[in-house]
């Protein structure tokens, strides 16, 4: 039995271990294929790939219950997939089609699946953080033990809403798992240019929140930490912040070559510290899977993506008439 490497009490079942591989690979390939669609002109607007950060979304979401909710960012596709959103409807949204999650109105930066607990990507850096504490507040008000997960990155931790929100989460003891995806950059600005301390988690501690910093590219470690954090939140012991160190596998968005990112740094994170390669080797070395099994999974992922792209491309364009009619209706008083 494969066990996660920190806490002996949390056991990662073989199924889950494999599933985490599948999910990470799905995110990786979803992003890569969407980027192709972007380059061919089928997708427009801003597109911020989650490439390289897959272990965080997957490790965290695997630690959640279905009825928990997540609040995402502008770099949100990974979170959506990890939380179980349908690839076809996601892809359709990126293509701006009626069959997309938001009927083509939202696009990449606003993709959401409200009933599925994905309460929205966000075009405003930090914009989702206060929303997450509200979700937690709502869950508690309803007397449930559901929790809210708040994804955000290093750049967002410089925004005032971060401090305000963790403070309120702390004083009201709200069930929020804060997941700080520290990929070291906000567009081209390195976090060490905008923060004195490399340990962003300390900011949470100062406001009275338990916090830990981990390598966000080790999916088992992310899973273990998130499991503990989520458990704490669920039992009323939260909130909890986990800072996951990670790295973008490229520029800020599809059109950013990221030439400001040092080559050796990039090589390290894309090479030895690639979350998928790491996990793949780990699964094989621990005997949980053969290379072949994983290749088969890769193939399955690919087929699902073929179907998703197919679905998306077949999905109709939204109708202007309907759009105008809905607009008219929304302006009417009841």
């Amino acid at each position: 039995m494969l066990q996660v490497n920190v806490n002996q009490e949390i056991v990662l079942s073989p199924e889950k271990a494999i599933e985490m591989y599948r999910r990470m690979m799905t995110i990786r390939r979803f992003e890569q294929r969407s980027i192709e669609l972007y380059r061919e002109g089928s997708i427009r607007g801003y597109f911020h790939p989650y490439l390289g950060e897959e272990a965080i979304a997957v490790g965290v979401c695997e630690a959640l219950r279905n009825d928990d909710a997540i609040v995402s960012t502008h770099r949100g596709h990974g979170h959506c997939i990890a939380k179980g959103m349908d690839l076809g409807r996601m892809m359709a949204e990126l293509l701006g089609r009626e069959g997309g999650y938001c009927r083509g109105r939202g696009g990449s930066m606003h993709i959401a699946d409200v009933s599925g607990g994905v309460l929205g990507a966000n075009g405003i850096v930090g914009g989702g953080i206060p929303i997450a504490i509200g979700v937690a507040k709502g869950f508690r008000l309803f007397g449930t033990d559901r929790i809210a997960v708040c994804f955000f990155s290093d750049g967002a931790s410089n925004n005032g809403v971060f401090a305000e929100s963790i403070n309120m989460a702390a004083i009201w003891n709200l069930p929020v798992l804060f997941v700080l995806e520290n990929n070291h950059y906000a567009v081209s600005t390195r976090i060490d240019e905008t923060s004195m301390s490399a340990a962003l988690a300390d900011r949470a501690t100062a406001y009275g929140i338990q916090a830990e910093t981990i390598n966000g590219n080790e999916v088992d470690l992310v899973y273990e930490t998130a499991t503990r954090g989520a458990g704490l939140c669920r039992k009323g012991g939260g909130p909890f912040l986990m800072e996951c160190k990670t790295y973008r596998h490229g520029g800020h968005h599809v059109n950013d070559p990221g030439s400001y990112m040092p080559k050796d740094e990039m090589d390290f994170w894309r090479g030895k510290n690639d979350p998928i390669d790491r996990w793949r080797s780990r699964l094989i070395s621990s005997g949980l899977a053969e290379g072949e099994d994983l290749n088969r999974i890769d193939g399955e992922v690919e087929s699902l993506l073929d179907e998703a792209v197919e679905f998306a491309k077949r999905s109709p364009e939204p109708s202007v008439e309907e759009f105008l009619a809905e607009l008219e209706a929304s302006r009417c008083h009841e």
């Binding site: 109105r105 939202g106 507040k137 929100s165 309120m168 809905e326 008083h333």
Partner: protein, 330 residues
Amino acid sequence: MSRVIMYREALNEAIAEEMRRDRTVFLAGEGVAERGGSFRTSVGLLDEFGPERVVDTPISEASFTGLGVGAAIVGCRPIIEILFVDFATLIMDQLVNQAAKYDFMSGGRGRVPMVVRTQGGSGNGLAAQHSQSLEAWFYHVPGLKVVMPATPYDAKGLLKSAIRDDDPVVFIEHKLLYMSKGEAPEEEYTVPLGRADVKREGNDVTLISYSRHTLLCLEAARKLSEEGIDVEVVDLRTLSPLDKETILASARKTGRVVVVHEACKQGGVGGDIAAMIMEEAFDYLDAPVVRVAGLDTPIPFNVTLENACTPDIKKICSAARLLLYRNEVM
């Protein structure tokens, strides 16, 4: 059974009744719980509903508004109190980029049934950062509803509707109205959003206003009636969605319209309403639609200067007279 209550009591009753009716309603803001609200609108609520539903917040307006957005998304009906509309400057991202657009951006699959209750206007010597009238900003944002009641009756009925509404509503009270009194039934009632109220009927000239200036218009109408001028007073109550039908019906009837508000004239909602009337009823107009509005200045501290900034009854009457005179000589 009707009785006379104060505006602030009307608001308090509306909140309490809705909180009793629906346990997803909660109230959050600075000093709303232990202190019962800076304007005493939430007195007694903490005792009845407890600290999970009546929440004193830190001075973190942006984020506790976001708290409301998040709670609303998952099915609560939060009432977020922003002490002064001047501090709405701090919540515009959560209000405009998040709350107002969520329904639309999610393709209609998410709703944000939140009320932001706030308070504005000048007249208490609170100077430039505590006296603004900023409704035009919210009015310009698709996805927000904007309510500005003038009377206790409307305040109560509209706040209840706002809480039940599935869209984000900005509900702006007027600081000089909290102690004003008016009739309101003991029995449950609501006032629908989006409907103006003709508070006085008349044939010669229409005064269109909202919030406190509705009351000034009614006084102006009484004064003008002594001069034989028959004034209609339309109280918008809800600015957005705007009740164009009621406005246009009155404009077509009288052919002469004055739009009155306290907010700065430049870029105020008065211009928008005047333009709309011109577009839709040009051929009925015997005179230009004119605006009587606040001066385009920050509000000064000094009482005399402060009073000079806000339209008073005299200015309203002059504008109405001018429209009629103008017509006579044409």
